[in-house]
Amino acid sequence: MSLLVSELKVHYRTLRGDVRALDGVTFGLRDGEILGLVGESGCGKSTLGKSLIRMDGRMRRAGGTVVLDGRELPIDDDRAMNAFRFREVSLIPQYAMSALNPTRKLRRMVGELLRSRGAPLDAEELERRMSQVGLPREVLDRYPIELSGGMKQRMVMVISTLLDPSLLIADEVTSALDVSTQKAVARALLGFRERGYVKSMIFVTHDIALTHHIADTIMVMYAGRLAEKAPADVIVKKPRHPYTRLLLDALPEVGVRYADRRLEGIAGSPPSLLDPPPGCRFRARCPIAGDECAEDPPVAELTPGHHVACWKV
């Protein structure tokens, strides 16, 4: 196991009380595994990604542990985490557009960044990695504003993985891109793993179809908890959790027409995480909910690697 997250609880402090964005999530990540993390907005997927690298001031760990390569990550100690960031855990942020310093040419920016981590700049290696994602070396002598959105995204990907981190967190990296750029970026991520630049990866997204193409395992989250986790093919072909099923049914695909087959959304909205109701969090929207759902459903392993948190399976 490369990463082991157990019973992780992360709360956001607000004036009205703690928002339980992440409420007891347990999962593991094997060496070389790409985990796709999907769910609606507010389900805690970005919170999970963020807590593994940097918690912001409003976030607080309320319990649980994170172990990476046998060492526990001090996720709530901002300073102590510095030793891990970039070398052990690295992040590709959602908005690569604003992740680059606009006043520096890229060569200088990368140099400064590496120096701050005490690593020398290996220009040859940097250029080789850039060419692998289809960036010409001249890009280094440009300002970020001179690059297109897809180029910036790929540049950030190269920078994030320069020190060969063990775990890479890609937070909605393709959401702002066009389909053809999206494909190039997704393939570049797969290339990173093949070449061993990163050991394992968590790919946070709301796009199940895209995740299916690059992830080995998909984890579906709902309202701060794990709903279902299984190999990518199983989630797409034989989902067991009612939420996963409804989510997949709501996906329009090319070729599906309103006139032929009418898709349905999921009625209702997720519960407030300020004071979530007891029991299964999907209960209010679930078509098959019963009396037992008033109690928290345990996460059961149906077949090896297929975990579902639902009483009805």
């Binding site: 907005s41 389909v179 999206q182 494909k183 997704a186 796009d207 199940i208 179809a209 329009p252 349905e264």
Partner: protein, 294 residues
């Protein structure tokens, strides 16, 4: 109803506007009542610029846009019939006004003579049309509502004006998968009542779900347009094929586009403009910009 004829848009860029960029080049298409036309293209293809020109927010450089045979003129009369909804519902509302104030403003501007009680009834039925519970949304601030609710409020607002055409610019791209489809189904219901919709998107699967006709835009020019099932089922232009092959699908692996061995445009001896490959199915030259053949 809506007709675009050789619409071209140039933007002045650079210091003192010394250079110009042609964002839209000679675009022709029509939207009929009760028809959904999806306008598909990547960022920078000019799809939003077209939407803004149709709404009268930007002037056209050359060519013409007519609505019911009259040129587009931004103003009360035009907006009574044509409305636009944009991508970000959160910035479409004034955060210090309660959501229903939007409806109040519509009444003041467009229907000042309607008695208050009757107006309340109309607001109520418009909200029910978009499947919102009036008690749940009226009297709330925008931050208290979800993105899907806000987007539906904007559609309800447009309905109060009795519009004929809705320009929907990426209206579902900020919504979750579970609410996105509700907004699309709603548009389909409104279409059945005779509303024309220009659905601008970069998401091909959403575009194909609703639209009867699809227009594919690349760098400001139409490369392919026609009935949706033809454009998606039998794409002729290499760019359309490339786009379609890049869409992630659930049950199929990503494949590379099948190469086009010969340009149908030239095979059939097309010259100038778009070539009609089938009934209503128009396609541009495969090498639109670099083509040297006559």
């Amino acid at each position: 109803m809506l007709k675009l004829r050789d619409v071209t848009k140039e933007f002045r860029v650079g210091a003192f506007g010394g250079r110009s960029v042609r964002a839209v080049k000679g675009v022709n298409f029509e939207v009929a009542p009760g028809e959904v036309v999806s306008l598909i293209g990547e960022s920078g293809s000019g799809k939003s610029t077209l939407g803004r020109m149709i709404l009268g927010l930007n002037p056209v450089t050359s060519g013409s846009i007519t609505f019911d045979d009259l040129p587009v003129r931004a103003g009360k009369e035009y907006y009574r019939r044509v409305q636009g909804i944009f991508q970000d519902p959160f910035s479409s509302f004034n955060p210090v006004f309660k959501a229903d104030r939007v409806f109040g403003m519509i009444k003041e501007t467009y229907h000042p003579a309607v008695p208050a009680a009757e107006w309340a009834g109309r607001v109520d039925s418009a909200l029910r049309d978009v499947r919102l519970n009036p008690d749940q949304v009226l009297g709330k601030y925008p931050h208290q509502l979800s993105g899907g609710q806000l987007q539906r409020l904007l559609i309800a607002r447009a309905l109060l004006l009795d519009i004929k055409l809705l320009v929907a610019d990426e209206i579902t791209s900020m919504l979750d998968a579970s609410t996105r489809i509700d907004v699309l189904n709603l548009l389909a219901e409104l279409k059945a009542r005779g509303l024309g919709v220009l659905y601008i998107t970069h998401d091909l699967s959403l575009g194909s779900y609703l639209a009867e006709r699809t227009v594919v835009l690349r760098r400001g020019s139409v490369v392919e347009m026609g009935p949706t099932e033809r454009v998606f089922g039998d794409p002729l232009h290499p760019y359309t094929r490339e786009l379609l092959s890049a869409v992630p699908r659930l049950h199929e692996a990503w494949d590379d586009p099948t190469p086009v061995d010969d340009c149908p445009y030239h095979r059939e001896g097309g010259s100038g403009g778009l070539f009609e490959a089938g009934p209503g199915h128009l396609v541009a030259c495969a090498e639109l910009e670099t083509c040297v053949r006559p």
